[in-house]
Every structure is written in C-alpha cells, then in structure tokens.
C-alpha cells in the first residue's frame, strides 16, 4: 500500500512538472523570444486556456501527500516555511500577470505584467529545482521528526545545510535550463513566424546546456548524498530511469537539429519524467532523508496514514483521476494546433 501511494504522489508531481513546466518555461523565456506586443500576446494565449489546470496538479499532489503521508506533509511544509511562503507569493504574482495583462489596453500596463510574468516564472522554477535538490540532499530532521531550515548557512552540504547551498543552487540552475528548453519547444509548437523561429533558435542553444547540466549533476549528487547510489545497487531495475535519461539526452539535440518539433517536445517530457523517477528511485523507501543520521529519516513506514484511509482513498482517487484525464483531454483537444488557429474564434 505504501509503495502504491509513494508512486501515486510521484506520478502526480511528475505530471505537474511536465504540464506546468511548459507554461513556467514559456514565462521564463518570454522576454527573450517575444519582442513585440503581438508576439507576447501570442505567448500568453499559448498557455491561457491550460495554465490553471496545470497548476491544479500541484494542489492535487499536495492534497494527496497530506492525506497519504501526513507526517511528511507536516514536517516538510513547516521545515521549508520561508521558501514555501516565497513560492506562494510568486504563484500569486504569476497568476495575476497571466490573467490581468489583457484586461487593460495600455502599453505600460502590458509591459509591467510582462516583466512580472518572466520574473515570477523564472524564480519559481529555480525554487522548485532547489526544493527537489533539498529533498535529495536531505535536511536536518531531529528526533521529533521536525526540522526548520534557514535560507542559507555556509553554502556547504553537510549536517547543517541551508536551503540554498552549492548543490541546491545547481539544482535550481539545472531546472531553469531544462524548463526553459521545455517551454521554448512548447512555444515553438504553438506559434509561427518570427516568434517560432526565435524559440527554435533558443532551443538549439539550450539543448547542449541541458546535457552538460545533467552530466554535472550526477557526480554532484554523489558528493552531496553519498549513499544515493546504494539504492541503485540494491535494486538494479531502477537503473531504467538513468538509462532513459541518457537516451533522451542523446535524442534531444538530434531531434532539435532535425527540426522535428513534436518529437523534441515529447522527448523533453520524457526527460523530465525520467529525471524525477530517477530521483524518487534513489530515495525510496525514504521520503525525506535526514542529514543527522538515518535513524531520523522520514520513511514510508513512519509517515504512512492508517490503512483504512488509504483503502478508501484508492477508490475515489482512481475515479477522480480518470475524470481529470477526461477533462484534460477535452481541453487540450479543443485548443490544439497553433495559437493563431483558435485565438480569433475566442468567444465573448
């Protein structure tokens, strides 16, 4: 049961990263690729009908985490208090910028929200990347299962790290590269003309950067958390994840050069999923490792909710997720194709 819920939460988070990842990525690169007001409008329209639904994956994953692993939710959310609050403020700013820009016709109003949009999207990506790196590296969980992490200490990993140290900053940068690539590929798919060409040119340059970033992150992870390899040695099947990552990393630059936009975007999705699965596999069955010794790790066994809750949850969760799948297919289907093909038929 525990393993099932572990993977359910992991899959929901992966769905979040892949889906909201592209609209965050569009935000991060928008000022770089979209120069005129009209182009920027197209960038917003490419994510307009879907961004809120994408963001709901974060909420749904959070809710599921809450009820399946209450201890993890309680400990991690209070321990990461400050960065989470900053994430909340950024999410507020980003939601406002996407939705309110079009409400007033004024150049100043538009350019103000454009900057807010790029700033909040970019920073959010860095925070999410750093958060994942924190989970991999571990946090100073005490014997009462709680911790409180300050934003920075001495920028080194070890028993008493900060939220930001060299390793987590690296995680943030890697996330920014990977999601910028993801976002530019998506935007290229949805647009035509100059905007499309600029997205594509950016993707060509980001491709190799992502490959290098991934290669650097492997030794870095081994240094930051030496026993992350142990899990892989125990369960060789888990090597599937890094192998997939490797294949994607080879394919991605090739597909981008061939100009195969759709496949390149799908490969980018696969890359993100494989990286997350790799991270999850390296942890399992630990959920949040402690830097103060493995006896105070938060593990599946000590964080799992009661058996009856989980059984009941499985029933409604399955129904709910099928429904959500249907809604998503409907919406993505109705708003398929290039932005220009549907923007002029917008309703009222």
């Amino acid at each position: 049961m525990g393993m099932l819920w572990f993977w359910i939460v992991a899959v929901m988070l992966a769905a979040y990263v892949v889906l909201d990842g592209f609209d965050l990525g569009v935000g991060a690169v928008m000022l770089l690729v979209a120069h005129t007001d009209e182009e920027r409008k197209q960038a917003y329209q490419s994510i307009g009908p879907v961004w809120d639904g994408n963001e709901v994956w974060l909420l749904a994953a959070g809710g599921t985490l809450f009820f399946a692993f209450p201890l993890l939710y309680a400990s991690a959310f209070s321990g990461f208090y400050m960065p989470l609050m900053i994430v909340l403020w950024l999410l507020i700013l980003r939601g406002l910028s996407v939705e309110l820009r079009g409400h007033v016709h004024d150049e100043m109003w538009h350019s103000f929200w454009d900057v807010v949009f790029t700033f909040s999207s970019g920073l959010l990506i860095i925070f999410f990347g750093a958060a994942l790196a924190n989970v991999i590296r571990g946090v100073p969980i005490g014997p009462d299962s709680y911790f409180y992490l300050s934003l920075w200490t001495n920028w080194r990993t070890g028993a008493n790290p900060g939220i930001l140290d060299w390793y987590t900053v690296l995680g943030g940068v890697l996330a920014l590269l990977a999601l910028s690539l993801h976002g530019s590929l998506y935007l290229a798919l949805k647009t035509e003309g100059d905007l499309h060409d600029r997205c594509y040119a950016l993707a060509k340059r980001l491709g190799p950067a992502v490959v290098i970033g991934c290669l650097v992150s492997i030794p870095a992870t081994v240094i930051a958390r030496p026993n992350s390899l142990a899990n892989y040695e125990k369960h060789p099947a888990e090597f599937l994840a890094p192998v997939t990552v490797a294949i994607c990393l080879v394919l991605l630059p090739i597909l981008i050069h061939k100009g195969d936009e759709l496949r390149a975007f799908l490969t980018s999705c696969a890359l993100l999923i494989a990286m997350l699965c790799g991270a999850a596999a390296g942890l399992y069955p630990v959920l949040l490792p402690s830097t103060l010794g493995s006896q105070s790790d938060i593990t599946m066994a000590n964080a799992l909710a009661g058996p009856h809750s989980l059984k009941v949850g499985l029933v409604w969760w399955s129904i709910g997720i099928v429904l959500a799948g249907i809604y998503f297919t409907t919406v993505y289907w109705l708003f398929r194709g290039k932005v220009s093909s549907y923007s002029d038929t917008y309703g009222h």
């Binding site: 599921t64 209450p70 939710y73 409400h103 007033v104 809604y327 309703g347």
Partner: protein
C-alpha cells in the same frame, strides 16, 4: 505576541480574505446558470449578453479566489504542522478530494465557458457554465466537510502512534454538522451574489443607462435574494443553531452572552459583554425567546457559561458575541429590504422607487460582512479547541516556526493582499462602467480573464 497568537492571526487573516472571493464565485456561478437557462428558454439575446457581462466579473473574482486559495492549502502544513500530522488521516481526505474532484473540473471548464462560446453549441455552452457552477459547489462541500469535522468530529479512531484515522468514509461525508453548515453557507453565498447583482442593476437604473440590463439584474437579483435571505434564517440558520446548542453548548452560551443558566432565558438583541464581572452592559433583551428558539418552549432551561469550567470558554468572548449578533442582525435586515424590493418588483414599481434602489445599491458590502461574521462565530466559538474535544489550538501549531518568522510572512500577506484588493476594485469597477453592451471581442490573454 507569542507564536501561537501570530499563527492564529496569520490563518484567520488569510482565510477570511480568501473567503471574500469564493462566496461570490459560488453564488454568481449559480446566477449565471440561471441567466443562461433563461437565454435558452426565451431565445432572448439579452440574457446571453447579461451572462457574458457577469462572466467577465466572475473571471476576475475567480482568479483572486484561486491565488488566495493556494496559500490556504499550504498553511495547514506550514503553520499548523502538528495539527496536520495528527489529523491528516482524516481531514487530508476531503481536502485531497477537493483538489481531485472540483479544482480540475472548475479550471478545465472555466476555460471552455469563457473562450468557447463561439466554438460550442448553445446547449454545450450552457453545460460548461453548469459544470463550472457544479465544480465550485463541490469545492465548497469538501472544504466544509473538513471544517465540520473540526467542529464536530465523527467517524474517526485513534491509532497507536497518536494520529487519527477515518473509520468510516460515509460517516465522514454524512456528518450532520457538515450538511447543516453546507446549506446555510451556500445559501449565504447566494445572498452575496444576489445583493451584488441587484446593486449593479440598481446602479444602471439610477444612472438611466443600460436600463434594459439593469432591469434584468434587478429582477434576477431580487428574486434570488428574497428566496435565499429567507432560507438563510429559516430553516437553515435555525437548524444550525439548534445543532450547535446541542453539541457545543458552551459556544452557544457565549454567542448569546448568557453568563448564568436560566429558565426562560432571554435573547439579548444588543449589549456589551463584560467578561470580568460576568454580565452584559446596556442589555436590550427579550425574555423567554432564547429558550424558545433552542428548545421550542419558553420555559426550558438554557445552560449558561457558569456551567462550564473557565478553561473551556471561548478565548475571545466579546468578539464572538459581536460576530454572532452582527450576522443575525444583518440577516434580519436582508429579509426586510429584499421583501420590500420583491413586493415593489411584483407591483412593477421597483424601478421608480428611487430610495429602495439606493438601499439596494449601498447594501452590497453587508453580505460580505455577514459572511465573515458568521465564520468568526463558528471558528471562535470552537475555541479553545482546534478539533472540538480532541485537540486544543495550543497543541496544533508549528513549534519550529518562530514568532518573528510568522509575523514576517503575515506582513507579507497583508501587503500582497492590499495590492490584490486594489486590483479587484479597479477591474470590477472598469467592467461595471463599461457595461454589458460593450463587452464583445476585446483582447484577452488568459483563460480566466473575461473577454
């Protein structure tokens, strides 16, 4: 201030602010479905235009509900971690269901509703409006199941590690407290929306512009208003009150300011509770009424605060007393003004009775105040318990998050939310000034953003 107090203010402020938006979202979603239905049945284009106009305002309001709702979801973990750890096995359930069953539904179909009018058939577009409404009402249901479990815990058992688990899923969903609270609360959401709609209608009629639409808004607003305002008091408020009296007698005694048990207890209409000396200053009271309202007979004895140990009294008693009286007082005013407006509407004189139109126009903030006051009554009445009878508020907060940090983020939210308030006012005012006729086809970028 100590950490506990700050965490409480933090939560109270952010939830109160959040709830300003969903109440209109839920009520307005229903009224938009009503307008769309009238459009289908009468084939009158004006109802479609009216629905489109409200959809624009709905979109801004919904956006603010979304961005202020996300912090709520996080705060259970960030500010109330010990509470989350112990009760996550129960309340995590409805909270996760809210995400899976309603947020996906709402966010997907809102895009279709706002953008799809030309791409969908009329019936399908009605369907999109209906699903948005359904989504928001389901959302309200699950959140109230959560709150109701804290007010009146049912269907749980204690696990050996000190945490709670649901023992019966249906028991949790069918918690009588939840259903009573849900109908009362949803009805209140409709009250808010109908006052907002009538106020805009009255504004247009008074300004002598868009009077066609002004009349439609007045008609729909006033009819929905009179029905919901009456249901608000009877039976929903009355039933809810009796249930509170049965299960939280100390809360009801404090709400009513009844310091001493009494047969034929009076109902205090106005007054100022003096907790030190255990009396009400300047009371304006009607004898026997309280006993009658709770037990159906004027002679029944109502338990006063003196029956309970001091450490079980709600912690901020005067605030509770005022909150309750503000809610009930405004509820009475709502019925009066809406009954008058409905009567004039029926006689065809509403548009010419300017002072009533002015009253409708100026009354739109009151339902917001009544809703906030109602929630304050419920939440402060529950004190000092976080989960009634099971867990004290002082046990639930995040012990590792310091008072200074909590104050810092509270100030951050205060600042951020001031900006949101300004934006909301500017954008809604803009939409109202532009009026229903001018809505079509201007630029838009997002899903939620109107037209």
């Amino acid at each position: 201030m100590d950490a506990l107090t700050l965490h409480r203010i933090h939560f109270a402020f952010t939830i109160t602010y959040h709830y300003l938006f969903p109440q209109l979202t839920m009520g307005l979603a229903l009224l938009i479905v009503v307008l769309k239905t009238m459009a289908l049945r009468t084939n009158d284009e004006r109802y479609d235009v009216a629905a489109r106009f409200w959809a624009g305002i709905f979109a801004v309001n919904f956006l603010l509900g979304v961005v202020t709702g996300i912090p709520m979801e996080f705060q259970f973990g960030t500010n109330w971690s010990e509470f989350s750890r112990r009760t996550g096995g129960v309340i995590g359930q409805p909270l996760a269901m809210e995400g899976v069953f309603s947020f996906f539904l709402e966010s997907s179909f809102l895009g279709l509703f706002l953008f799809g009018e030309k791409r969908l058939s009329r019936l399908a577009h009605w369907g999109a409006a209906f699903l948005v409404c359904l989504g928001s009402w389901i959302s309200g249901f699950f959140i109230i199941v959560t709150d109701a479990w804290m007010q009146h815990p049912v269907a749980y058992h204690l696990l050996p590690n000190g945490t709670y688990e649901v023992s019966s899923f249906w028991g949790l969903m069918m918690n009588p407290w939840a259903w009573l609270q849900y109908i009362h609360n949803q009805c209140a959401a409709v009250v808010t929306a109908s006052f907002v709609m009538s106020a805009v209608g009255a504004f247009y009629v008074l300004q002598k512009r868009s009077s066609d639409y002004g009349r439609i808004f007045l008609k729909v607003g006033v009819i929905a208003g009179i029905v919901s305002c009456m249901l608000q008091i009877f039976p929903t408020g009355d039933l809810h009150g009796k249930y509170v009296a049965k299960h939280q007698p100390v809360a009801i005694a404090a709400m009513e300011g009844l310091f001493h048990s009494e047969k034929g207890a009076p109902m205090v209409l106005m007054g100022q509770p003096d907790v030190e000396n255990q009396k009400i200053d300047n009371p304006l009271a009607v004898n026997d009424v309280l006993s009658f309202l709770i037990y159906g007979t004027t002679s029944a004895e109502v338990q006063g605060l003196d029956q309970f140990p001091r450490d079980q009294w709600p912690t901020t008693l005067p605030l509770l007393f005022y909150a309750y009286h503000i809610m009930a007082g405004l509820g009475t005013y709502f019925v009066a003004i809406m009954a008058l407006a409905a009567f004039l509407l029926w006689r065809g004189k509403l548009e010419t009775t300017r002072w009533v139109l002015w009253c409708l126009l100026l009354s739109f903030p009151f339902p917001y105040i009544a809703n906030i006051a109602g929630w304050m009554t419920a939440e402060i009445g529950r004190q000092p318990w976080l989960v009634y009878g099971l867990m004290r508020t002082s046990e639930g907060y995040s012990k590792h998050v310091g008072a200074g940090t909590s104050l810092f983020t509270l100030l951050g939210f205060l600042g951020m939310y001031s900006v949101l308030s300004i934006l909301w006012i500017v954008l809604v005012y803009n939409a109202i000034q532009k009026g229903p006729e001018e809505t079509p086809n201007h630029e838009h970028t997002g899903t939620l953003a109107g037209a």
